[in-house]
Symmetry: D2
Subunit: 282 residues, 4 copies
Amino acid sequence: MCRWAAWSGAPKYLEELICDPQHSLIEQSRHALSCKTSVNADGFGAAWYGERLTPCVYKDVRPAWSDPNLLQLAHHVKASVFLAHVRASTGTATVRDNCHPFTVGRWSFMHNGQIGGYDHFRRRIDNLIPDALYAHRTGATDSEALFLIACGYGLSEEPVPAMARAVRELEDMARTQGGAPFMRFASCWSDGETLYAARYASDHLAPTLYYRCYGDGISIVSEPLDEAPGEWLEVESGSFIAVRNGTVSVGRFFPDKVASSKGNTPKGCFDVGRGFVESGTG
Amino acid sequence: MCRWAAWSGAPKYLEELICDPQHSLIEQSRHALSCKTSVNADGFGAAWYGERLTPCVYKDVRPAWSDPNLLQLAHHVKASVFLAHVRASTGTATVRDNCHPFTVGRWSFMHNGQIGGYDHFRRRIDNLIPDALYAHRTGATDSEALFLIACGYGLSEEPVPAMARAVRELEDMARTQGGAPFMRFASCWSDGETLYAARYASDHLAPTLYYRCYGDGISIVSEPLDEAPGEWLEVESGSFIAVRNGTVSVGRFFPDKVASSKGNTPKGCFDVGRGFVESGTG
Amino acid sequence: MCRWAAWSGAPKYLEELICDPQHSLIEQSRHALSCKTSVNADGFGAAWYGERLTPCVYKDVRPAWSDPNLLQLAHHVKASVFLAHVRASTGTATVRDNCHPFTVGRWSFMHNGQIGGYDHFRRRIDNLIPDALYAHRTGATDSEALFLIACGYGLSEEPVPAMARAVRELEDMARTQGGAPFMRFASCWSDGETLYAARYASDHLAPTLYYRCYGDGISIVSEPLDEAPGEWLEVESGSFIAVRNGTVSVGRFFPDKVASSKGNTPKGCFDVGRGFVESGTG
Amino acid sequence: MCRWAAWSGAPKYLEELICDPQHSLIEQSRHALSCKTSVNADGFGAAWYGERLTPCVYKDVRPAWSDPNLLQLAHHVKASVFLAHVRASTGTATVRDNCHPFTVGRWSFMHNGQIGGYDHFRRRIDNLIPDALYAHRTGATDSEALFLIACGYGLSEEPVPAMARAVRELEDMARTQGGAPFMRFASCWSDGETLYAARYASDHLAPTLYYRCYGDGISIVSEPLDEAPGEWLEVESGSFIAVRNGTVSVGRFFPDKVASSKGNTPKGCFDVGRGFVESGTG
């Protein structure tokens, strides 16, 4: 299990999420509260979007709190959209290529969760990654594989359905070849314009997912950054949110259904939505 | 504050202290119990004595649990005398040169404690290090300075009085130029033959120090490695122990008195001992 | 291209190959002579055999010359059989899991060479690794894949034919799906008892491979460790050598032929040998 | 000896100096030409000035070419003033705190050179650092000490005379307590507005120093970034340059004279010139 936080809004220093809050990401790397592992010190990473289309990625294997470069960058780098992650390994090595966020072109992705029995069918998961994307398979985590498979399913055209389909595929593999809990998923991904996040689990123990609307933007997190009662809204399991230009859209994230309707899934399903919640920050 | 463990006895794999016990040093690096900082993940180190006179030192900046090289070495390296340490920085950077153990020639040293107000008079502490030893001053910690000053006071001839004198000098500097708590000290040092450890504090909060006699050797630790009631003997504040060839000698470690008598302090005062405790491991 | 050196004989400190010779492995990491890349500073590694059946592996991403831990270990660790490697990346990342030697159980492997167009068919190479060994696929190099595939072909039973078959398979894939040069190979592998090395290329530019018999053992290297004329014997392309108990056996290493006769390849083909050279160190 | 490059002008991506030129800083880290050490792979660093008064510093111990984070940052970070450095250790350890640039408040500093016999009188050099700045003494290099001593001499008020005085002091110490070559110095320092660089040696072997005027700014380097004949102007030994708002001022940097006239040295001698190259402040 890992902890992560993301921002979409007015340009903000990374440290305003990573270092400053009472229960900042760095504080969570030492003492996470709503997490199986209280210490999340097996590497960290951040991706932020600036003038270029692709994000800038900084990640490394040390605990977030002990890396002076991270503290420098967090203090000096400002971005309108960024993702940050602290990792607690569930088995794979603590090497940079296993740290989040992962990126392909404009897209970045970070994950908190697990795929049951992943170690037993990793080869078959790897085999789902298209050749064209296989050069991006540099680590050994389930998270990286999940992201690349979603890219192969057309993440750049259909950000939510493609991710949902990847989740469903891997959940199916876990059911047939792995073990319980088949899929636990609380992830965030972005192209630098829209920030997506989704929460899902095969059982009733989906990893936590929250967001909060500030005056100048929206933060999505795996665990609240402070004790502001009522401010942090929980995303339900089986839902996703999409944040863009100060607007939060909430929709259903049902891996089986979404994926089965692939092909005719309306693009931007989160704009349409039955029962969607929209909340502006304006 | 840091955690450490040392061994003197029959050759033992490092992992038998570092990894295997219920409350091993690696476990303590995540969840120390009798320590102000429960996470001790700002580097680690080990020094062991083999065929050469000098120890082999392996240390690095990552958390002990996440370094695959450490796990390999702990699994494969066997030694009769070794020291191992996990660090929680009290301010100085997490760089290798600030990790314990420190070594000069045959001597190794590791420390848990602090010198009150050290940051304010570090230059003057550095200035107590003799030129001949100054090349060993590669980091910025109080621990390294304390060790080098003790070396300058003749650690190799009088291992306990020299250390006591260094502790007293720095405690005096803390009293006049720093602040409370002036000195807290629970350290271990060795020349590869005898293992020394001492406990002291200016106040009544000396860092913990324990030892335990096994059938084939003696372990000294800052915190017990398991819950074996009655097996772990606490070293009193103001005392030192010296372990050699299966024998534990306990003596007083009064920085002021020992140091003031320097010159006529009987070498090997811990062999003579009024009120000393001796316990063999048979 | 990389540089490596191995030893089989009386217990020797690692530094006697890694640091001390005029053209030691560390010197080669800065100034390799018979190598396309003169700087081999993208990580290093060593594996040595001690009391346990499995080797102890130490590897990391820094240049060999700048790692104080490596210098410490090389100075203190003694072994009868060891392998050491300095890496020059041909494209894959400089992360620990891409550094040599690679190990599975008792077996260790290090490689200098390349597979033409590897990037284009890596997924299919990965897919040749059996599920049972896939947990060992933690990096992204062709070398690691080659080793795991050889393990899958029965390296532990038939150390040379299994390796030859893996080389042939990957050479075939390079011919059909990759590009020239299809296969260049100069590798060393061991189970802690016998040291194997082989040299091969699809063209006439096989990476160099030498060995030398000392009074107390045999060294195999990718490049001579000093200028001792006549002492360093070159292994021909298409040949392997096996070193055990002071005896060097030389045999043919023809990937196509050896592999095609798999099943009835005589085990220990290098003990039989037509035209084999045997030279004892007596 | 080390290699470095700096920029003052229109906002530029770091990679335009670090990665892109024919003989970029990364290329120099492998194959420096006018340098005693052709490989400069013992760490690297960059400091750039953005919205905050203090610079953002990124530095680490790996070779510049092998650090994916550096490549990411160099590709994405743009600045009007930045300094970048690749290190070849002359003895001190390859730890982050020994990498350049060093910073205090707004000021950054990077150095190529040496102080003869530094190891023999380092304690006395350290002792020249004021208590108020001693917390910044985290490494063990002569470069860091030189910078902190210059800060103590009033670098922020008199950037050139303070540096010259520090150089003279340490040269004097080298003459009386160290050995030849007493002082070799080619350094660059900045407060984010003006970029200073100076060249000096006790003998006639001052490390090289060049600058070049582009249409949109000025680059100062220890070695030209490309073979543009006539474009790279050499700074003479015993001179400094100051670059601000597209103007280069050149003046004398005579440690003895400048320092002895401290107090009446015209401040801002580099504020004079209009036009491009101005030389001669004497």
